[in-house]
Symmetry: C2
DNA sequence: CTGAAAGCGCTTACAG
DNA sequence: CTGAAAGCGCTTACAG
């Protein structure tokens, strides 16, 4: 385990009795275009293997002017859908012979994202898939993103909206998904449906960002039946599981009388929904019998909650693959074909809205 | 958004009317040791800012012979405790002015880990924290790990056992934790306690790896009461949530008669426990009333399951920090002080074993 | 107080 | 069929 001296290409060349150029040619598969003889190639390969030679990354990157690495900037490392997205990026990167590294964008702390974006400007990687979901409204972090792109590092967004024609983005159909979710609840007979969303996002119909789109889809589903949701059913709160739990308790506090309380909750996403289920459990309100809960995203754990989550699904891994595909188009000098693309979503019926049970054991809702 | 021409140090030097050396001195905070005048420094800094200069990472790394990056090799990106560990590594790395990148080790696919380990040998980073938990038994992946260390890249393990005196490792007290968990169940009156573990791990008392240590702790808790667990209570299966779910169903199939069925399950970890809770729900067996479930690791979501998970806890972020501390000792030329370190664990009582309720509302178990 | 020069370890166009 | 040489963009010991 003693640290060996550094094995450079010159050491290999000396060992094989050839020049460094020859070693480089052989090891980079240019043996025939450089017309290196069979036997020389063998000798070089043997020497390299014997010495455990690995070309130095920094030197190679400097010379080639590319690193062979793409980076995924993740909203939060522990975010469940991000892991699937990274897997999608990896699939594509592998096909192109690239490695992928993941770095954390600090979740709610935009400063971390800004620093990360700035640190990527030095050519440490050849391109970055940004999965922070923070660029639909322009802020200093988006400035940092544009700086990165302007400095020559191709960038592609996923689960977000493009801030610039030169930057491709892919997102899911938030409006359609929210519409589907609400419609599912309406069809199950629910009329008082709560809509949970983030406290810090604008909700005007023309506002940017997924919360506004989701709210619109929710209202559209009601409108289709000639109905309008009560503004008191709109609950705004924090992110993650804890946010969902807190919003659930907030809703129950707002509606102490069970007869007026919403009978269903459209949570902002699956994590929120998990928190909502937990909040209901704490309040002694059973899901789905007393209240239905629907999520969004269909994260891998959604099928394992009790009750299993009814949610809006879309292909997470493919989302990563599509974002990576766009990135590689740019990497190869191509142009952005379509600035914002949208992936369709579908309803995934499990147990948390009672529909499964309804079909199997008879209806529980009017 | 047009891609700008590359701004090198020479461009900055020209703009400021000085040499590249001067720019380098100023920008690296060596202005005074190199005795650069106040005004020149200003001029250089201005020019750099104006041009948006960022030192090229590859060139700098090549010259300095270090990259300023440490890598975390994660068993699986979506693994919940790994995210916390990466956070711990980040905390420490930040203090040292290092960036951290995360790469995926492919979970059960050891080939991915081997390739990743090999790809890190080219000096793409200065050190790596390995969080794959796969090195307590020696296999080809451990060979790749030793190769990496031998090639001069410092390595530190977390949630694993060290395969070599030159490699520090930090793990939690698996034996003690399992003992605590089992003892908790015994104290609650349970006598038929199932132990869930992985199918592919040796369980002999002296076998390497956490499953053997856990099994030992389980038996020790029984032994303390002069008891011995029935071998039929040992269930072996797959990983992740699905593994837990499957093992739960396996147990119920093995014990069709509820009067003989174990009244408690010590799951291998929190993910397994989540699967077990799900399996119980599917089988119509209520937790904790009809069966108690205990986990291991206290992942962030453990408090949000229904019922909330009683589990064995330990500081996940600090585990990452400690592994990173060891890495930086090596990075600075230090020696491994202690090959294998162990972090203590503690019992985290929530709802899934009924203890919470027992205290509050009277006992449910004999 | 500042600059010229060497060199980190590669790759590649070119010469022979 | 193979090698000498230039150069990628930095940093740093050294000279003045």
């Amino acid at each position: 385990m003693r640290r060996r001296p550094q094995i450079t290409i010159d050491v290999v060349a000396a060992e094989a009795g050839v020049s460094a150029s020859t070693v480089s040619h052989v090891l980079n598969g240019r043996a025939d275009t450089a017309r290196i003889s069979q036997s020389t190639s063998e000798r070089v390969r043997d020497a390299a293997r014997r010495l455990g030679y690995t070309p130095n990354h920094a030197a190679r990157s400097l010379r080639r002017q590319r690193t062979g690495v793409v980076t995924v900037l993740a909203w939060r490392l522990s975010s469940p859908f991000f892991a699937d997205i990274a897997t999608g990026v990896r699939n594509v990167a592998q096909r192109h012979g690239f490695q992928v590294a993941v770095i954390d964008a600090g979740a709610l702390d935009r400063e971390v994202e800004i620093r990360a974006l700035a640190s990527l400007r030095n050519g440490i990687c050849d391109g970055v898939v940004v999965a922070t979901g923070t660029h639909s409204r322009r802020g200093p972090n988006t400035d940092a993103l544009l700086e990165l792109a302007a400095s020559g590092t191709p960038v592609s967004l996923v689960l977000d909206r493009s801030p610039d024609p030169a930057i491709p983005a892919i997102d899911v159909d938030h409006l359609g998904g929210s519409y589907l979710a609400t419609k599912h609840l309406l069809e199950l007979g629910h009329r008082r449906i709560a809509h949970f969303t983030f406290a810090d996002s604008p909700l005007e119909p023309d506002a940017p960002g997924s919360p506004a789109a989701r709210f619109l889809g929710y209202r559209q589903a009601f409108a289709e039946l000639g109905l309008e949701p009560d503004p008191a059913w709109l609950v705004r709160g924090g992110r993650e599981i804890e946010g969902g739990r807190t919003m659930a308790h907030g809703l129950f506090a707002r509606f102490p009388n069970p007869d007026q309380r919403p009978t269903a909750i459209a949570a902002f996403n699956d994590r929120t929904a998990i928190g909502v289920i937990r909040g209901c459990y704490e309040a002694g309100i059973t899901v789905p019998e007393e209240i239905a809960v629907i999520g969004f995203h269909d994260i891998p754990t959604a099928r394992y909650t009790t009750p299993a989550l009814t949610t809006i699904g879309h292909p997470l891994i493919e989302l990563g693959e599509m974002a990576a595909d766009s990135l590689f188009v740019l990497l190869q000098g191509g142009e952005v074909a379509e600035r914002d693309r949208t992936v369709p979503v579908s309803l995934v019926v499990r147990e948390s809205c009672g529909a499964q049970r309804k079909n199997g054991l008879g209806g529980l809702h009017a």
